[in-house]
């Protein structure tokens, strides 16, 4: 029941942050545009006045694509690497504005102002940055450990089993376990952020430990709430691909309609991100209040 009420309450809270959503969406769009405009110019320059590329309008054409890449990959490559760097920059940006989002969600009854958002973001940036470093390192270490374990298991399975279906299922189980742990760490990260804002915590490592204990203690609620929210963008993507294949991007109108749907999808992804935090904030409020009594007790002997 707590999951459902948190889920709906998070949705309502997110819905009331339209200005915030729009701000983040515009920033995302502008950042993508920064690379996309020169990318488009490069495509135009490389393709010149050739008619071959019209084949790409109706469908994917391997020969046109490969000939293009064989002769223009050097021109395209910088945009790919720039996009990846942009992603990393966007991660920094996310770290920055998550404090603001949580603050806005927390005082949802007040009127939203951008100034309040930026101030809150700035206030928590340093703490969230350290928290992000710890959690990213944890993610990487766990990923490496799991990769090594899975490689050893797969190597052993390869040597001992008669057919590849066992290898496939072993790898699949390994990937699922990794994803479950990955999601668990995301949940821990989220509650660590919430605790930092709710309790004005300054020490990320200590907060992570507390968040770990909290998440583990309320595993079913915290984990399944996150999974429930994670389903939203997955479902939206499935719907998007279906719609795109129906509409097609073969005419000016088709391109425009798909573009609008794409941007709606991006907007929904941002919405979901805030929705997750909003729901978790509510859930934390429900559990957190009960734990107020035990506050001050030593955690792991600290």
């Amino acid at each position: 029941m707590k999951i459902i009420t948190s889920y709906t309450s998070g949705f309502k809270a997110t819905f009331n942050t339209k200005k915030l959503l729009t701000t983040i969406y515009i920033i995302t769009f502008l950042m993508a545009l920064i690379i996309a405009i020169p990318f488009s110019s490069t495509i135009q320059k490389e393709a010149g006045s050739s008619m071959a590329f019209s084949a790409l309008l109706k469908d994917f054409d391997y020969t046109v694509y490969r000939d293009f890449m064989n002769h223009s990959a050097m021109a395209i490559q910088p945009y790919i690497s720039t996009a990846i760097w942009m992603g990393i920059f966007y991660l920094l940006f996310t770290i920055f504005f998550e404090g603001g989002i949580l603050k806005v969600l927390k005082r949802k009854e007040d009127k939203f102002t951008l100034r309040f958002f930026w101030e809150a973001s700035a206030k928590y940036f340093s703490r969230f940055f350290r928290l992000a470093i710890y959690m990213i390192i944890t993610q990487v270490v766990i990923a490496v450990i799991l990769f090594i374990i899975l490689s050893l298991i797969l190597s052993s399975v390869y040597k001992s089993v008669p057919n590849e279906s066992y290898i496939f299922y072993t790898a699949l189980i390994g990937v699922i376990i990794y994803l479950l742990i990955f999601i668990f760490l995301l949940v821990v990260t989220d509650y660590a952020k919430i605790m930092m804002v709710e309790n004005d915590e300054y020490r990320p490592f200590r907060t992570i430990l507390r968040s770990f204990v909290f998440t583990f203690k309320h595993f079913l609620s915290t984990y399944f709430l996150y999974l429930l929210l994670l389903i939203v963008p997955i479902v939206l993507f499935v719907i998007y691909f279906k719609i795109e294949s129906i509409i097609g991007m073969t005419s000016g109108w088709g391109i425009l309609i798909v573009f609008i749907i794409q941007q709606l999808l991006v907007w929904c992804r941002i919405f979901t991100k805030i929705w997750i935090l909003g729901s978790e904030l509510t859930l934390y409020g429900k559990f957190g209040n009960k734990e107020e009594a035990s506050e001050g007790e030593p955690v792991f002997g600290i």
Binding site: T28, F29, M31, A32, I35, A36, F39, S40, I43, Q44, A47, G48, S49, S50, M51, A52, F53, L56, L57, D59, F60, Y62, T63, V64, R66, D67, N70, H71, Y79, A83, I84, G87, Y90, L91, F93, T94, F128, A132, M135, Q139, Y158, P162, N163, E164, S165, F168, L186, T189, M249, T250, S251, G252, I255, V258, F259, Q262, Q263, V266, I270, K273
Partner: protein, 673 residues
């Protein structure tokens, strides 16, 4: 009645048994030999699945077809390529083939073959006269070729019969042969005589042995013969082999002996595994048997149907497959090093559990390997020296078969919206090389010093064969392929033989349209390594309402400031074509005007630039060089066209997609916090 039956029954069954055995053993496949059958083998071999050793005895019947007295014989001992790291094969390959590495630290990984004795029947013992030779390099450690001097020369037309006792240790599956657990693919495993080439065969001007060492890139070359092979192994094994099975006998020691018989073939290979599951199909006179891994049984139809497609297509466009059967082996995962290999009437495919139908790897391998039955098997070209005649020609037909049955743009992969055809894939294999000029096609398989064997031999050949196909037309190309097959099957043709046929057929069909002959084509694509790239450089259109300026007329000067041609403008349109590559090919240019009419202009393609100019009331809107994409060998087809009214829709589409992709990349990365 009953009593009398009891009395005669043992005798009766004995008669039936021996009659049947005799029928089976003496069964012939072809009433008239298809080949010279000058290298035939009778073999008795026993496999020990524990030690992976084959104890073998072979009687070789070798006939001297030349006019020479031959006092030396040469044999391949291919398995010695896997004996140690000093073999030529291992040195060239670095211990890996097709991405699979030999496990150097494991004793059982290595393979070898020893000739224990060699005797002329009723004649001299040659055992102590055997010596290793290295006709291709100075590698004294290579033991893949032996020379055996004869005290008494084999005279022209004479047949020498040799009894050879040998022992073969199979390697852990590597480079097409060996074992993986209790799966065996036994190939290149017995002492095999080389080819004595004499005037009339390929380029020989005098008689000489053509018996090359086993190289990393090279495959094989052998004479035709009849094989009678008895294979003894534990009863639990299911066996497939070249030829047809003619007998099976259960022995008292828990083994069984299977007899195989093959005619007019150049090699003998076999497979054994206790877990094969068998699927069968029939196409006309050909019985197809697939020996599958149990977990792949659901994909049996993919194997049989693609084999039927290949049989049907090659029968129609190249020639008849004369053999009565085809065996397809599906190797296990740990035996994938033996996948994708060809022997006469016997091929290895390759598939993976759960492989989606849209990824047609299995179909591709079956079709490709089956095609070898024509080029490696019946035409039996020299794969050491002219690998393109087998691999390249076969790949060309593979692309035709794949594209015909599975669609030009979908034949290789058609999965979750991503698709491409086999011909597209092969062309990309060549034009997508870092250095497409790395080597010319016409060179020995081991002559590719810095890589490129696969891309040039398979992909480039398939691409230029398709180019030839499109230049002369499919109908003519089919006549060429049929003539080549009918004239040269079972005779070891060379490139020159093929070129002669092309020249003959094209001349007959087109006269001098392509010049005196087609040698220019082969000089470019086969003997040369340059690239082909024609570019439609630009189109310029000017309004030229001439005459303008000052003109002398009857002693007076007339000044024309503006002159209208009945109110219609005249446009000077110029279409410029560049030849960027060194390869020269005749090429057409299609010019389209704004009144929707087209003009086709032919160009010999020789000059560096070619301008086409028009003074017409219509403007040129677009032009295409090689509009039908005949020159598939052109390394950049995207620059073959030019339009004065370029569409921006595709750019908008990818602009929009790129924005979406970057946004999702950013939001996905940000998910980790």
């Amino acid at each position: 009645m009953d009593k009398s039956y009891c009395k005669i029954s043992p005798f009766f069954f004995l008669i039936i048994y021996f009659s049947f055995s005799t029928i089976l053993i003496s069964q012939t496949i072809f009433k008239t030999p298809l080949s010279p059958r000058n290298a035939s083998y009778d073999m008795d071999v026993k496999l020990n699945p524990d030690t992976k050793i084959i104890d073998g005895f072979e009687t070789l019947h070798w006939k001297n077809l030349s006019n020479d007295n031959i006092s030396e014989l040469r044999f391949h001992l291919y398995l010695n390529a896997f004996k140690n790291t000093k073999s030529t094969f291992m040195k060239e390959s670095g211990g890996q083939l097709r991405g699979i590495n030999i496990d150097e630290n494991e004793t059982k990984s290595w393979g070898w073959v020893d000739v224990l004795s060699m005797k002329v029947q009723n004649g001299e013992d040659l055992t102590n006269k055997i010596k290793f030779i290295h006709p291709d390099d100075d590698n004294a450690d290579d033991q893949t070729v032996i020379s055996v001097p004869l005290a008494k020369a084999v005279r022209p037309g004479e047949t020498i019969n040799l009894d050879i006792k040998f022992k073969s240790k199979l390697p852990k599956i590597f480079a097409r042969t060996g074992f993986a657990d209790d799966y065996f693919l036994v190939g290149q495993w017995f002492p095999k005589i080389g080819v004595y080439e004499y005037p009339g065969i390929r380029y020989a001007t005098k008689g000489q042995w053509n018996c090359h060492q086993f190289h990393a890139n090279s495959e094989f070359y052998a004479d035709f013969g009849v094989y009678n092979v008895n294979i003894t192994l534990p009863r639990k094994y299911i066996v497939g082999a070249v030829g047809i099975q003619t007998g099976e006998k259960k022995n008292n020691d828990g083994t069984k002996t299977l007899t195989f018989h093959a005619e007019d073939v150049i090699d003998f290979a076999w497979t054994a595994s206790p877990i094969f599951k068998t699927a069968e199909a029939t196409w006309k006179h050909v019985k197809i048997k697939v020996l599958l891994q149990p977990e792949h049984f659901a994909q049996a139809k993919r194997h049989t149907q693609s084999a039927i497609n290949a049989l049907e297509y090659l029968d129609k466009h190249v020639g008849k497959y004369p053999y009565p059967n085809l065996t397809i082996v599906d190797p296990p995962l740990r035996g994938l090093g033996s996948a994708g290999m060809e022997y006469p009437t016997f091929i290895t495919a390759g598939c993976l559990w759960g492989m989606p139908d849209g990824i047609r790897f299995t179909e591709n391998v079956v079709i490709h390997e089956f095609g070898h039955n024509y080029f490696m098997g019946m035409l039996a070209s020299n794969e050491f020296e002219e690998a393109f005649l087998d691999e390249g020609f076969n790949t060309y037909l593979e692309t035709r078969i794949m594209d015909h049955y599975y669609g030009k743009k979908t034949s290789f992969v058609n999965f979750v919206g991503y698709h491409f055809g086999d011909l597209e894939s092969q062309r990309e294999g060549y034009v997508g090389m870092n250095n497409p000029k790395i080597a010319e096609d016409f060179r020995t398989a081991w002559g590719y010093k810095d890589g490129g064997y696969g891309a040039i031999t398979y992909s480039k050949t398939a691409t230029w064969m398709t180019t030839l196909d499109r230049l002369v037309g499919r109908e003519t190309m089919d006549v060429i392929m049929k003539t080549y097959f009918n004239r040269w099957s079972f005779k070891h043709p060379c490139a020159k033989n093929f070129i002669d046929i092309v020249n003959e057929i094209v001349k007959k069909k087109y006269g001098n349209k392509f010049g005196d002959n087609m040698n220019w084509f082969f000089n470019e694509v086969l003997y040369g390594s340059d690239i082909c790239d024609y570019k439609l450089a630009y189109i310029s259109v000017k309004n030229v309402n001439s005459p303008l300026g000052v003109y002398d007329s009857s002693g007076t000067k007339l000044f024309y400031r503006y002159h209208s041609t009945n109110g219609k403008s005249i446009y000077h349109s110029k279409v410029a074509v560049y030849r960027l590559g060194e390869v020269i090919m005749p090429v057409d240019i299609l010019v389209h005007f704004d009144n929707d009419k087209d003009t086709l202009v032919s160009w010999d393609g020789k000059d560096r630039t070619f301008d086409i100019e028009f003074d017409k009331p219509e403007k040129v809107v677009w032009a295409k060089v090689d509009p039908k994409q005949k020159l598939l060998i052109d390394v950049n087809l995207n620059n073959n066209s030019y339009t004065t009214e370029p569409s921006s829709k595709y750019r908008k589409k990818y602009f929009v997609k790129f924005i979406f992709w970057v946004q999702n990349l950013m939001t996905s990365i940000s998910m980790i916090f």
